[in-house]
């Protein structure tokens, strides 16, 4: 995780465009100023960041399914459940799937685990909008390469 840049996903483990599922890994850093305040003597990952990590996982899945033709923007989070604490240094494995592809929006679901233990889950809805700026798309391509987005799922211009 690069918390300072809000890039919470480290690598894509599996992307199945047919089943419309993704599995990613996100390594919680062992130290960060966030943990100094959240909380002193009891550092845990904030629930909003766990929710964001799930949203980013779903976002990468949608980018793959849409062949990077549109950018998913977070619109709605439902049933966000923080089921257990996530501590500094732990490795999150996040699985996400598309529940519904609507017209201009998509509904997804995600679950994050540490080992086999389910830590959080949510249903997350996105608006799907054409990239507002070409530089944005270039940036997303670069991040995709960095986190191991499967080459066969990348669009070829």
């Amino acid at each position: 995780m690069q918390l300072d840049y809000f890039i919470l996903i480290d690598r894509i483990i599996d992307l199945n465009l047919e089943a419309k599922t993704i599995t990613v890994e996100a390594q919680v850093p062992p130290t960060h100023t966030i943990f100094e305040g959240h909380f002193p003597g009891f550092p845990i990952m904030p629930g909003v960041l766990l929710t964001e990590a799930m949203a980013q996982s779903c976002g990468w899945l949608l980018l793959g399914v849409m062949k990077f033709e549109r950018m998913p923007f977070l619109a709605m989070v439902k049933e966000a459940k923080m089921r257990g604490f996530v501590s500094p240094g732990q490795l999150l494995t996040i699985e996400a799937k598309i529940e519904h592809e609507g017209s201009g929006f998509a509904v997804t679901s995600a679950k994050a685990r540490v080992g086999k233990e389910l830590k959080c889950s949510a249903e997350i809805t996105f608006r799907l909008i054409p990239f507002p700026d070409p530089a944005f798309r270039v940036h997303m391509d670069a991040v995709a390469n960095k986190i191991g987005f499967p080459l066969q799922a990348m669009p070829h211009d």
Partner: protein, 97 residues
Amino acid sequence: MSSTFDQIANIIAETCDIPRDTITPESHAIDDLGIDSLDFLDIAFAIDKAFGIKMPLEKWTQEVNDGKATTEQYFVLKNLAARIDELVAAKNASPGA
């Protein structure tokens, strides 16, 4: 079996916390019921699921923006029900149905 309008009205009432008895076939989803675009995403998801269709919201919005249609054609609930019935009929008539 409840009508398409009744199903839509029930979805709207539940999704947007609007009293069911205030929702009529003449109600305009935006102008009368005050449903915003985010709530409409939720409603669209529920309608898509309930009827097994994909409401072409983007196409409808484009038509309104281009002046080719009015919001009443799609967002007055009796008209929305008619559009949904058309989509369901088209789905049932398709070879894969």
